[in-house]
């Protein structure tokens, strides 16, 4: 079993970076099974090819513009995944889209892909998340843990004070 949790997005554009912020907090909030690899993908493209090949499951955490109120958690699976990439709701996906298409070509695409995220409020220049998105991060991590549970992988919740969580 090989599973990757990929935090995507640009941390210089406030809520655009929520995927990266979320995966930084993930190992502080949960003890994950060894088969789960956490990757800070940022806005990268083809460099990710090796890391994402032959996965049993890929969970991408990202800002998702789904026409919901800011801070709304969103889960995309099945047919919604290719649509998410095709409509390019955020700028880094041209790169990731190419990576996934290339993995298809090689016959090494993930067997299962889910995109978990939050409706962003602000994509302005800045390194802080908006309060709405900040509040939704624990929910997104919980959604991820539920996804892992469906694959039979158990994560144990850790108790960490918010003040101890490092930030950019």
């Amino acid at each position: 079993m090989r599973v990757v949790v990929l935090g995507a997005g640009n941390i210089l554009l406030s809520d655009e970076g929520l995927g990266v912020h979320a995966i930084e907090r993930l190992p502080l909030a949960y003890l994950l099974p060894g088969a789960v690899e956490i990757i800070d993908g940022g806005t990268c493209g083809m460099e990710m090819l090796d890391a994402l090949e032959d996965l049993d499951a890929l969970f991408m955490i990202d800002a998702i513009r789904g026409g919901q109120p800011p801070g709304t958690p969103i889960r995309l699976v099945g047919d919604a995944v290719p649509v998410f990439f095709k409509t390019k709701l955020s700028p880094h996906q041209i790169g990731l889209c190419d990576v996934l298409a290339t993995l298809e070509l090689l016959g090494k695409a993930p067997k299962y892909t889910a995109i978990l995220g939050v409706q962003p409020r602000s994509l302005a220049l800045g390194m802080e998340l908006s309060p709405e998105v900040e509040k939704a991060i624990p929910t997104v991590l919980r959604m991820l843990v539920d996804e892992l549970a469906m694959l039979g992988m158990r994560a144990r919740q850790l108790t960490v004070k918010t003040s101890e969580i490092p930030r950019w």
Partner: protein
């Protein structure tokens, strides 16, 4: 009657570049290159600790994270006039070179070869003939009839299902596609093999950089890698031996596949050795420092005027005033408040002022950099020409060998002058890549030799003065000259400007209304079918555009992925 064609976006990767061309009589008369996102990362850095800047600037771009990390630490070290340990230089150099080799291979095969290679035509190829041709040119083991047969079957399977996947957006069957089916098949096979080979370069970056895609090991003052002859937990000789193995495999591919493919494809498109000449004022900077103070370099760089190699003026060190004093940026045609004329980066301002797209006014988020008042072309072509002018022997050898093969395929003598062109930029990139992969092997040797002397130091602690200091970090990145300019006051950043390669090349018109490199190179480009402007894409892609770092911040909501407007 002239026709206006808008291509938006042009890049298959990060970022948003819009190119408008006016087509008349089957060729481009006028062109505009426009960055469609606002740049402002510099403002995030003001007030921060200069030691953190590299980690933030490497988030500017999804394609070239490492180059911004390198330029940033060099800028701060330059401001402090500090020396860094030799081991740190060698490790940084290997990261720089492995990244460059990766970038060039991926750019050619995966991001631009399909402008020249018709994937669907490969289905008509005879794998036996393809193998005979490929084996006559190279000893690469992946050129057998069996290999080409497998690739053709795989491709047929893909096309048969109607799912071209990553190949969907190509201009298949376009009249400007001229390769025989066998060459197309060879190129598609190498496209797939390049996907395997690129991983070796990526592994080198991740071992040395401690992490990928964002490296973690650089620091103002050196690198954070602990070197060891025997310990298991750090960068050991054993891990370095693995790195050497990957370097050798990259070297084999670059010399026996990439260089040859570029020459063969170039030979079938001789007309493209005269298209896309444009700006032939070139600037590159020396890189791969061999001492701790950035005064001696493995790869030379400098300034060439009007395409004349005898005009070459070498930029000797990273403190060379000739580079530092020559750079200025104009915002006359950019969406920023201006009125002060071109500003040196230390004095640079970044205050947005958006208007609509105005052909004669402001039309881009990119500033327009100049070198002593002239627009420049930067990138692999300027770099390779500078190295030839500086009598860098390995560059001369690879360039000569490549041009000889082009001449054989084209059945006419093709000389150095052919490099000032669209296809020439691809050839120069491949020649430069061969030089880089050799240099990568040499830097490995230098690191090991230095460690064997007992020197394991990788870090000198920076000390920040109370006074104001300023520095420039210069780096010859894969796409050309990158410079980060920092002003530090009492240990905090007061001003920060990045002048990135794509800003030089994709610049809008400057203070004197002279066009930037893309704009100038597009003039005269033939366009057979205005709503399928493949030829325009060829010229733009030959620069390997990467707009994500040239400009920043975005509102792409409801924008189409690719929009070609022929009006």
């Amino acid at each position: 009657m002239s026709q206006r064609v808008t291509i938006d976006p042009v890049t298959r990767i990060e970022g948003h570049l819009r190119v408008d061309v006016e087509v008349d009589g089957g060729e481009v008369k006028k062109a505009w290159a426009s960055g469609q996102m606002w740049r402002g990362v510099e403002t995030i850095l003001v007030g921060r600790d200069p030691r953190d800047a590299w980690a933030i600037t490497q988030r500017i771009c999804g394609v070239c994270t490492t180059v911004h990390a390198i330029a940033s630490v060099r800028a701060v070290e330059n401001a402090l006039q500090m020396e860094i340990p030799l081991n740190a230089q060698y490790i940084r150099n290997m990261i720089i070179l492995a990244h460059a080799v990766h970038d060039h291979i991926v750019h050619f095969y995966h991001l631009s070869a399909l402008d020249w290679v018709d994937v669907t035509s490969a289905l008509q190829a005879d794998p036996g003939k393809a193998a005979a041709l490929a084996e006559s040119l190279s000893s690469w083991p992946g050129n057998s009839k069996a290999e080409f047969t497998r690739v053709k079957e795989r491709l047929a399977g893909f096309v048969g299902t109607g799912q071209l996947g990553i190949f969907t957006n190509g201009y298949w069957g376009h009249p400007a596609m001229k390769l025989p089916p066998e060459v197309n098949l060879i190129a598609v096979a190498h496209y797939l093999q390049a996907l395997e080979v690129q991983r070796h370069a990526n592994k080198i970056v991740s071992i040395l950089g401690a992490k990928t895609p964002h490296i973690q090991n650089v620091a103002v003052g050196g690198v954070a890698n602990a070197l060891s002859i025997d310990s298991q937990s750090v960068l050991t000789v054993e891990r370095l031996l693995a790195v050497k193995g990957w370097i050798d495999q990259l070297s084999d591919f670059v010399k026996n596949v990439y260089l040859i493919d570029v020459a063969v494809i170039g030979g079938f498109y001789p007309e493209w050795t005269t298209i896309g000449r444009g700006i032939v004022d070139y600037v590159s900077v020396p890189d791969i420092p061999l001492d701790g103070k950035n005064t001696q370099f493995a790869l030379p760089g400098g300034h060439i005027s009007a395409g004349d190699l005898s005009s070459f003026k070498e930029i000797k060190t990273h403190n060379d005033a000739y580079f530092r004093d020559g750079v200025a940026e104009s915002v006359k045609h950019s969406w920023y408040e201006g009125g002060k004329g071109p500003l040196h980066p230390y004095k640079g301002e970044t205050r947005p002022q958006y208007t609509d797209f105005e052909d004669e006014g402001k039309y881009s988020w990119l500033k327009s950099p100049t070198f002593y008042g002239q627009p420049m072309q930067v990138g692999p072509l300027p770099r390779v020409l500078a190295m030839v002018a500086a009598q860098h022997q390995p560059t001369i050898v690879y360039a000569t060998q490549t041009l000889e093969l082009v001449s054989t395929v084209a059945k006419t003598k093709v000389g150095l002058d052919a490099l000032h062109s669209t296809i020439g930029r691809h050839a120069a990139r491949a020649v430069g890549c061969a030089v880089q992969v050799d240099e990568l092997a040499r830097q490995w040797d230098l690191l090991l030799a230095n460690m064997a002397k007992g020197d394991l130091n990788t870090f000198n602690k920076p000390v920040f003065p109370k006074d104001e200091v300023a520095g420039v970090g210069i780096h010859e990145a894969p796409r050309g000259v990158l410079s980060h300019w920092v002003v530090i006051d009492d240990g905090k950043i007061r001003n920060y400007q990045c002048v990135v390669p794509t800003t030089w090349n994709a610049a809008p018109r400057n203070e004197a209304d002279a066009p930037g490199a893309y704009e100038a190179c597009l003039a005269g480009t033939p366009v057979a079918i205005p709503d399928q402007p493949l030829e325009v894409l060829r010229t733009v892609h030959s620069f390997d555009p990467c707009l994500a770092c040239a400009v920043h911040v975005v509102d792409t909501e409801k924008r189409q992925v690719v929009k070609v407007k022929a009006a």
